[in-house]
Subunit: 512 residues, 2 copies
Amino acid sequence: MTGGESLLRTLVAGGIDTCFMNPGTSEMHFVAALERVPGLRGVLCLYEGVCSGAADGYARASGRPAATLLHLGPGLANGLSNFHNARKARSPVVSIVGEHATAHLKVEAPLTSDIQAFARTVSRHVRTVTSADDVGPAAAETIAAAWGPPGEVAMLIVPANFSWSDTLVPGAPAPRQFPRLPARDALEGAARLLRVPGTAILLGGQSVNARGLDAAGRISAATGTRIFIARNVAKIAAGRACFTAPQVPYFPEAAIPFLAEIKNLILVESERPVSFFAYPGTPSYMTADDTSHFTLAARGEDGVTALEILAYGLPGATLPQVQIPQAPLGDVALTLDHIGLTLAALLPENALISDEMVSSAGKVLAHLRTAAFHEFMPVAGGSIGQGLPLATGAAIACPDRKVIALEGDGSGMYTLQSLWTMAREKLDIITVIFANRRYRILDIEMQRTGARGFGPQAENMLDIGNPDLDWAGISQGLGVPATRATTARQFTEQFQDAMKRAGPHLIEALLV
Amino acid sequence: MTGGESLLRTLVAGGIDTCFMNPGTSEMHFVAALERVPGLRGVLCLYEGVCSGAADGYARASGRPAATLLHLGPGLANGLSNFHNARKARSPVVSIVGEHATAHLKVEAPLTSDIQAFARTVSRHVRTVTSADDVGPAAAETIAAAWGPPGEVAMLIVPANFSWSDTLVPGAPAPRQFPRLPARDALEGAARLLRVPGTAILLGGQSVNARGLDAAGRISAATGTRIFIARNVAKIAAGRACFTAPQVPYFPEAAIPFLAEIKNLILVESERPVSFFAYPGTPSYMTADDTSHFTLAARGEDGVTALEILAYGLPGATLPQVQIPQAPLGDVALTLDHIGLTLAALLPENALISDEMVSSAGKVLAHLRTAAFHEFMPVAGGSIGQGLPLATGAAIACPDRKVIALEGDGSGMYTLQSLWTMAREKLDIITVIFANRRYRILDIEMQRTGARGFGPQAENMLDIGNPDLDWAGISQGLGVPATRATTARQFTEQFQDAMKRAGPHLIEALLV
């Protein structure tokens, strides 16, 4: 077999069943081997940022790594910002990057670049294959590194000559390592702190899944401990049937008073909260300087079981009674509240939501608390262009679940090529574009930074409504059926219609 | 003034009049200062790869650097692949990247990343500002580094607190350094070699402009020396009124016999030719091992004047008589030859062509030799997604010249957001999309690599026609009027119509 085939066989042996790819010349032997090795689904993406974001979505939705296949340094460069997001979400990803044949590296070919340098910007595991016989073992190592725990974007760089040469050596993937329970000291220390007034728990990592939140809810009900959710999480269990806790607010002027009273903060797969950005005169840490921080479970440890141990024997938390909302049907101009109500009323059980609403998030999220059980995948790394690829990967990982992409019109433009892959793979995704035709978050940030002299020149740099983006037209051009809603009734009816069918649909929700 | 304002003032003092930007929170003080500092045109792009490619196009078209403004490490990451192309084209670019406030870097904020590491992948000049007073001097240094010669993508990283703090220090840009003439030994050595049979000249860098080609043509006419053009050049003077020389062929099996007879190769702002990719059993260098290589002008030296010195007193080369072609008007299925003929017949004097035709290039280029004088900007670095941004920047640099973007349907998808900026800025660009609905170049490469077992699974990874991209619809959705041509007559008529108007137009040339 070729090295390329050995790579594929190792991936399949290691449980990798999907590869999001945008291949080039150096990867042709890998692509050709798809024919001979069953078990790996190649998913073509028309831009590398779609590949990396889809792998992140696949990992968040399923808990398992997918592979990506990118072409040389520049191909990897195009995928880096969504790998950055995947890194911050601790998503396991097996990232394969083709390299020139080793003999070709001595010459300055047009596409020659320092791939290791590109890779190290988002990964601690960067492994370059050294021979055809090394392809399999190196791939097995990379799979293990991706799994962690915690999950990682693990990089495997494969020179073309090792991919095209023959080898008899397949890789033998190691057994998966599972998260370990924290040490007894951590469990006992947290148990003591739960008896002290002014203690709160900050949930991150896996601990915001349904089991972790249930345990945290029982602890809170029994002890009065406040529970918070960190901002940089991969996927939160949510909806009316689920104990919920507030996320630490985005802006520091809200987050600081919110966390001010905490004497002891128990960290579960999370870190001391920091603000997204710095502002003149604002601290970076959001908890007070005299708050003490106690780690119950570090990253990669089993925070869920740790919470369950602390909650052992405690009765279930009483969830607040919520009224199931009605989808609005008024012939009135569409608002964020309408969208939130429609989603809350019509969301099917066990949906996956990919969130990149940015400035539109607050109002919509308030309504989603009353929706059926769902899992919510927020912005983890803050690099724009995550939402549509994430939905793409999640839908491939979970074909039996409805996926909803809630996407800003500015952020959606970064990786709009995702829509084509949704169409090609007939993915069951409803995309809602929040078309306010502004970089609205920057309007807010511009005022908050205290920048003087905001006028038409600067204003023009935040205005994406000149000319208007016709999202419905763009979507149809990329193969995804689309409609535009300007009233509450239109949005509800379009969402209902889309929900009746499997396959992708886009609703441009016009908010101006 | 703020540091942000000092930065702007330094840019304007250094002759920078355009900034392609996609700003974020950390860059708001720079954006706000646009209001107070006249002379810098902010051009908003909806994706960073458009910013970096547009700056490359601006530099290639005008010979002068533009600035880019990108947001933190991930924003820079999205721009890297077109910066890679700019680097290979030796285009001067002043790349400004916002960074978190320095005090905020000690915490692991979501968007924290190693910006220097991202920057060093494409630049030797990476300068991080160290205080508000350092903003201006650091910007002046960066402008000087961008100019070179040779031109460079020079990086300036600006922490937000130095941008928002006050300073009294503006930057004082140094006088521009011009390329120097090569040493006398180089000129005399080359003159001697021109008298030896089997000598050829390989033109690169600036030496493929109209003056350089004219001098090379006179040398060739007088001495019989063969002239070639390197592949990795930024902009080639071309058309029927211009001495022309063949580019070194792309594929090694063509390039190797093409260059086989050369005993001495005189390099003018170029290097020994190498193949784009390596293939089993094929050398990386395209000239024979016994060819000797002599550098007349190194990168950054004045190869044009060096050629003029060698051509001193020689009469002008006789250009071949070419018949000015007729634009085809048949009601027959559109072919590449039809497109080439139409372009050759209708191209206005002094047009700029941005080429990313990829597999479609050969046939079209053969016809362009008979067109009016134009300048042709080819793929320099090989990273896909160059063409549309390059045209965008070129049109902003040269509003009085028609710009033609010749773009593959696969490569065009990488940075299609460019179309919105063309619409917003009303740029005089005709974009032709070569819609063959395949990654056609990979069909060719797949066969050439000798990869076995090419079948439906692999085939599916090269097919971008399922679903079909509706390029005309996408273009209209992004604000650029568009038409689709399926016959020779339609293409000619649509091109004629577009040529009559200023402003952007896209023609989807359907080739299947």
